[in-house]
């Protein structure tokens, strides 16, 4: 009898599993049910299987029957939830009621308990169903069937003991294992469904993306180059309809100048040398015009095979290309203009140089003659010349010599503009001390206090900066010559408008601030020749030298209260070239 129970239960379980497989084959609907209607239908399906199982039970004795419905209902509760399970429970309960017999109450109780335990299990489960393990399912199987055995006591005591002694072992051996088997089957099914849904979703996404994309999308057959999919955007770019495109290949569409490179790229993809390629190429549009695109191609990989399809992303870059071309043309024009200007400037500079050279030679020669022969005249005929005549000739000589000075200063000024600059870090403090020392040495007999702030440096041309300091210190020296004592200071200060500003300050005669702007203009003088000698070139020279460094010059002063001359040497590397 014991063997009999084993075999009968196993065959009943086998029937259950077989029916579930068949149901699964016939009914491909997903486990996750969205509508109430689907849930009820599923419940009916489950109920039907359970009833089929119940119709071939192991009959312990008439009215006391055992079958695998508890397994199915437990699993249903766990995997399908309340509605389908309750439906199945109602159906099976009805059948059991109709079957009748001593164990009717027990049968209906077992149905109810199995379904409820399954649902309870589902409710308590904190993880997705797909992560259920066999141990977990075994737990469910034992729980359901221990409860089932306990429910045997709804039978009269004697009967219950008898039944238990016969079925406890087979039930506890077979049913939990069957629960695990059925449960794992469900888990697998769920996993497959999820994978399938993921594929479907990504397909839908791909379609949506490629349809709405602002770039062209193509799928081509690798070997033939035939289009198997194109989106509307691509069709717009090349000016064909999508149907027309599906009858052609990318070889036909690609500009012949770009095809070779494109095919070489495809070759490299096929050989696996690269995972994708990007290139700028031209398509021939249907209307014969050409369109520039940026094409990115990657293979649609299948495991272990060379790619059957290629996915292409096509971006219309004709606007960008046009802009690039225009920019290039513009740059070329600009280059040409700069070259022409530079040449003009160089020519002008050469001319100026020739001019200065000729001035220095040819203009000075007659002056030498005037001065020389005036002197010769005085020497040769001095005795016969009245005093007034001697005086006149002396005036001629003085004017001549002054003209010589003017010419020399002009040349110096033009050299400041012409000479090439070498930018280096120049120690202005040391330079100022040098120049001051030279002034003191060359003009002894004056009491001048030279104050030089130490450690001042600037980036600039040493020769030009020396000219700046020589002129400024010379000036200060000159315009303090009426003082018994004088102080000349070289230093630096922070100017709100200009940043670091260097200055040369003296306590000499100063100047009328109304004329401050005239100071730096060539040949402009605020003092008479009798008061202070000079040509009016010094500050103009300073101004030019500083302008060449991109800096500024200005002066602050008051009559009899001294003057301060400021200049800046910006740290910028490239000096400005000032036109002459």
């Amino acid at each position: 009898m014991g063997n009999n129970a084993f075999i009968a239960l196993i065959s009943n379980v086998a029937l259950l599993l077989a029916m579930v497989f068949i149901y699964d084959l016939v009914n491909a609907r997903p486990v996750n049910l969205d509508s109430r209607w689907q849930q009820v239908l599923t419940g009916i399906g489950i109920g039907a299987i359970a009833m089929a199982v119940m119709l071939t039970p192991w009959v312990f004795e008439p009215g006391i029957i055992f079958d695998a419905r508890s397994i199915l209902l437990g699993i249903s509760g766990l995997f399908f939830g309340v509605v389908p399970t309750v439906v199945a429970m109602v159906l099976t309960s009805a059948l059991r009621f109709v079957q009748g017999g001593a164990a009717t109450v027990m049968g209906i109780s077992v149905i109810t308990a199995s379904g409820l335990i399954g649902m309870l299990w589902r409710g308590m489960l904190r993880r997705p169903l797909t992560s259920l393990t066999w141990g977990n399912l075994l737990g469910l199987g034992y729980t359901v069937h221990v409860v089932m055995l306990i429910l045997t006591f709804t039978l009269p005591w004697q009967t219950a003991i008898r039944v238990l002694s016969h079925i406890a072992l087979p039930v506890l051996t077979i049913y939990p294992l069957a629960t695990v088997a059925l449960g794992l089957f469900m888990v697998n099914r769920l996993k497959h469904e999820q994978a399938a849904r993921a594929v479907t979703e990504s397909e839908v996404q791909f379609r949506a993306l490629s349809e709405q994309a602002a770039i062209g999308v193509t799928k081509t057959e690798t070997t033939s180059g035939k289009y198997v999919f194109v989106n509307q955007r691509f069709a717009n770019i090349v000016g064909y309809t999508r149907e027309e495109l599906l009858n052609t290949d990318f070889h036909a569409l690609t500009d012949s100048d770009d095809l070779k490179e494109d095919l070489a790229n495809v070759e490299r993809l096929i050989r696996g040398e690269t995972r994708e390629y990007s290139m700028e190429k031209r398509y021939r549009r249907k209307d014969g015009s050409s369109v520039w695109v940026n094409l990115t191609v990657s293979p649609l990989w299948q495991k272990g095979e060379s790619p059957q399809y290629l996915i292409g992303l096509v971006e219309d870059i004709s606007e960008r290309k046009k802009a690039e071309d225009e920019l290039q043309a513009l740059n070329k024009q600009l280059d040409e203009r700069v070259r022409r200007r530079t040449a003009e400037l160089e020519a002008a500079n050469k001319e100026l140089e020739a001019f200065s050279y000729s001035v220095s030679h040819d203009l000075r020669a007659p002056l030498r003659s005037i001065d020389g022969f005036s002197q010769a005249f005085l020497e040769d005929f001095g005795a016969g010349i009245p005093e007034e005549g001697r005086h006149d000739l002396e005036r001629v000589r003085k004017a001549t010599q002054r003209m010589g000075e003017l010419i020399d200063d002009m040349l110096r000024l033009s050299r400041v503009t012409r000479d090439e600059m070498t930018i280096e870090t120049v120690d202005l403090s040391a330079l100022a001390s040098d120049v001051g020392a030279a002034l003191t040495r060359d003009n002894p007999g004056r009491e001048i206090g030279f104050v030089v702030q130490p450690g001042l440096t600037a980036r600039g041309d040493r020769a030009l900066l020396r000219i700046v300091l020589v002129n400024l210190l010379d000036n200060a020296w000159k315009f303090t010559s009426h003082n018994a004592h004088a102080t000349i200071t070289f230093g630096a200060t922070m100017d709100p408008d200009h940043g670091t500003a260097f200055f040369v300050r003296d306590d000499g005669v100063g100047f009328d601030p109304r004329y401050a702007t005239k100071l730096f203009v060539a040949f402009q003088r605020l003092h008479s020749q009798e008061q202070f000698a000079g040509t009016g070139i010094g500050l103009a020279t300073v101004h030019r030298a500083i302008r060449r460094h991109g800096g500024e010059t200005w002066a602050v002063g008051e009559p009899d209260k001294g003057a301060t001359f400021y200049f800046t040497v910006p740290a910028s590397l490239e000096p400005k070239e000032e036109n002459i």
Binding site: S356, A365, P366, R368, F373, Q375, A376
Partner: protein
């Protein structure tokens, strides 16, 4: 020593006269040969052209050379002087109006012995010639024979 000639290469007649005057004022009595352009100067030194009667081994004690000259300019004359074995040690003083840096550099590069810029002020010019004469005609020693 006082018989040694001075070769003056100068195209401007005023400058020639003033230079001669300055020499005279400084009691420099050496003969002064005046050539008016570079070609003439080189002819004199080589004993060619108008100077076939001049013995080329009779070198001047010093050459006063202007830079801006007709036909062959001063720098070219200097180059020839330095290239010729007979004249290559000849003292050459550049006497010019130019104070251009490049003229100075070229002159010294080509082997000028001295560079004097003619001042506008005649008094200063006389002083310059005095010092020049003192130095080149009196103080300076030259080898008696080209090496």
């Amino acid at each position: 020593m006082s018989h040694k000639t001075i070769l003056l290469v100068e195209d401007n007649p005023d400058d020639i006269e003033l230079t001669l005057r300055a020499l005279k004022k400084n009691n420099i009595v050496n003969d002064v040969v005046v050539t008016h352009d570079g070609e003439e100067a080189l002819d004199y030194l080589a004993g060619t052209g108008n100077y076939t009667s001049h013995d080329k081994s009779d070198l001047p004690i010093v050459v006063l050379l202007d830079l801006k000259l007709p036909k062959i300019d001063g720098l070219e004359v200097l180059r020839h002087i330095r290239a010729d074995a007979t004249t290559r040690l000849l003292p050459v003083v550049i006497l010019t109006s130019s104070a251009e840096e490049r003229d100075l550099v070229s002159s010294y590069s080509l082997g000028a012995n001295s560079y004097i810029r003619k001042p506008v002020n005649f008094d200063q010019f006389i002083e310059a010639v005095r010092q020049l004469g003192l130095y080149w005609l009196v103080l300076n020693q030259t080898p008696s024979r080209p090496a």
